[in-house]
Amino acid sequence: MSDLQTKKPQWWKSKDVKITAGLWVVFSALIAIIGGEVNARPMGEAASETMANTIHIMKLFTWVSAPVAGLVAAIAVKALMQKMHFGDNPPPEADHQISDSPKATAVWVIVSALLCLFALIFGMVILQKDNNTLLDVHATDIKVTGQQWAWNFDYSDNGNFQSEDLYLPVNKPVHFHVTSLDVVHSFWIVQMGIKVDANPGYLTETAVTPTKIGIYDLRCAELCGLLHAYMQKKVHVVSQQDYNNWVTSHGGTI
């Protein structure tokens, strides 16, 4: 480690360092590519910009942390490639006594601080984008009420009718006002990447703009008792026309 950093003549020409550097490059690339895919693949196709951003940010975080993870892996693997000693008695003590390397530690701390800062700033930017949807005055307001173990929806912008089904018009921002009648539930539309707890006595909010017509999953993400596992629903994202039809068929107004 310290050999990497101290300015001994030509430390970089040492064989150990070269091998480690090679491994580092290989591991970083592998972790970035595989890690990014492993995360993105199961998350499926995004049904909103929020979710698309989330998938993107997770890939990005993977890429950013890949060099760090790659370096740790490279050093670990290099150590394991060294001649090992088995047996009941210890091998002779190491022929060097490096117990510190201020430069290596300084580089390490600064780099990790920078990566951390990057992650933070990037997260904030996305967070800000998500929050902006909340402020959209044209959004459709829907009141969501959780109770053991069902969801109810009040379409307050569409004549205030109630429904047990969630229909959303595509490409139109929706503003959910979420509460609960009994215990804490959590309102989670999986493919849209939004979630907020439903608390008794409080109103919480979240917002999203669905971007794809289709049927998605609404699940409860907070243990809420006996039938928590079954407290789920389908979310129907439909065209504006279909949405209007659906609303009028339920006695609502456009």
Partner: protein, 622 residues
Amino acid sequence: MTTVMNHKSPTASHRPIMERLNVVTAVVLGVAGAVISYYLAQKFLPQNTEGSVMKTRHDQVVLIGMIGWFIGFMTGIGALVGPFRWLMGKDLSHDENMYLAGKDAGIARYFRYTTDHKVVGIQYLVITMVIFGLGGILAMLIRTNLGNPEGGWLHPQAYNAVVGIHGIVMIVGTIIMITGPFGNFIMPIMIGARDMAFPRLNALSFWLIVAAIAPILSSFFLGGITTGWSAYNPLASQAPAGMDGYIMFICIFAISTMVAGANITTTVVRMRAKGMTWTRTPIFIYGTVASVALALPAFPVFFLSQIMSGMDRALGTTFYDTRGGGSGWLYENLFWLMGHPEVYVILIPAVAALMEMAPVFTRRPLFSFKIAVMGIAGICGLSILVWAHHMYMTGWAPLLNAPFMLTTELISIPTGMLFLVLVGTVWRGRLWMTVPTASIFALLLNFMIGGITGIYLSDVPADAALHGSMFVTAHFHYTLMGAGLTGAIAALIFWFPKMTGRMIDKQLSWISFWMVQIGFNVAFMGMFMVGLAGQPRRVEAYAELFTRGNQITTGAAFVIMAGMLVLLWAVIYSWRHGQKAPMNPWQSKTLEWSVPNPVPLENFETLPTVTSDPYGYGKAQS
């Protein structure tokens, strides 16, 4: 009491009360206390009034019964002898203290209120293994139920109860798994002390945990803990009387951690050997102290949250009931104020233990001791400022999400320092390949995965997709089990020769290591996948889409179980028939290896003087 006691031939008729107390009298008095107080409560407590909203009587009766057990048990084990004698002004004499330390008592001292730190250490080791055994069985029940998407192998209520008890039992097990056995047995010898600062508090901290086990076990028969280990209110106020067992368990356990924390910290601060300056103190000591000192301010908050939960249930207060001005967010805040430091309470000693072993098995000094200390201190300091990242999605204070994102991501800096120390130490060292050595690499892998997935979760938008899903479950298993438990098992194998006087079976421990590590990584990778795909936590049935991931996890979980059973067998077998260990089998330079096996009652004939740090490997040649 004041007569000089003759330990060589104690005649039963003349033994003072103090010497008659042991685990049997404790259980007898505990059961008697429980039965009597239960009976009295049933008889004299007023009935629920007609039409009252709060049906509190049953909870009152159950809680009073449990308090009766607690008081009876602690009296029966002899915890009150010390305070009582202090009050009377008859302090324990030297002979009595020696009796309490278990002098010449043989095997019986493990079943008494014994103050010798080595006895307490062994007691902790056994109880930790019992707790892990219990939690492990429950884990297998969970995984079996999740083997097919319909669930239904367990009744949903039973499933929830199993999840809750698995959670809390494992959390408690991992909290004590290093500071309990090794913090008590090894730590005082490592710093060159004859015993802990407060030997009687040491015994107290252990027996409190034993006393706490009855309430948690009784919850099985009282409807279980159906709320998950976090016991969120108001769900907890709905839960059956098993919840009272949880409340009682946490309260007693919180007292135990407080007592242990004050004791261990004082011991390290005041009783290090002559010449053991802070820079010469082994890193494991730092880890242990950081862990227990962090628990000191953290656990009382948990304690309070459960007292209020109990008051809501039994007295009809409305701390968490919104109908009476209470707030569920209050509970969540209090819970996570403890909950996040607690994660580091578990993790730090595990990492520190591996740091302690790294120089021994690479035969070179610990890389950058100062950075290791800074990393530990940094984690401790930041950990009390990050609790609300568990609450991003609760909506309690959306404006605070960004600051908590900052503090949470900052924690990756000191955590990175711990990585640096470990990779710096293995770099170009000549590895002596043992299970602890391999555990260092396992920890690097698991902790890296746990850490990076933690970065995703620290980010608010990503957390919106992942919070409350199996992804979170897999993430914290990577940190607590993949990193924490790996370190604890390595510590067990490393210090086994000193604690039992025998070497642990090499072959069996290697088999166990590979089974557990491979099983673990496969199992929780599967769990990550289903979490990313959107499977919520704590569900007893799930959509078809998650079937494959869950079946992978379940299959691999059985491999973990088999590996753990191999380890258990290795421990039991080696403890009884293992090869006798030399005084210093690993040729380590810390003090605990300078005392003979078995370690004498007061550890050192003459107290040692320390002249250098314990990592002076390879220096002779330079």
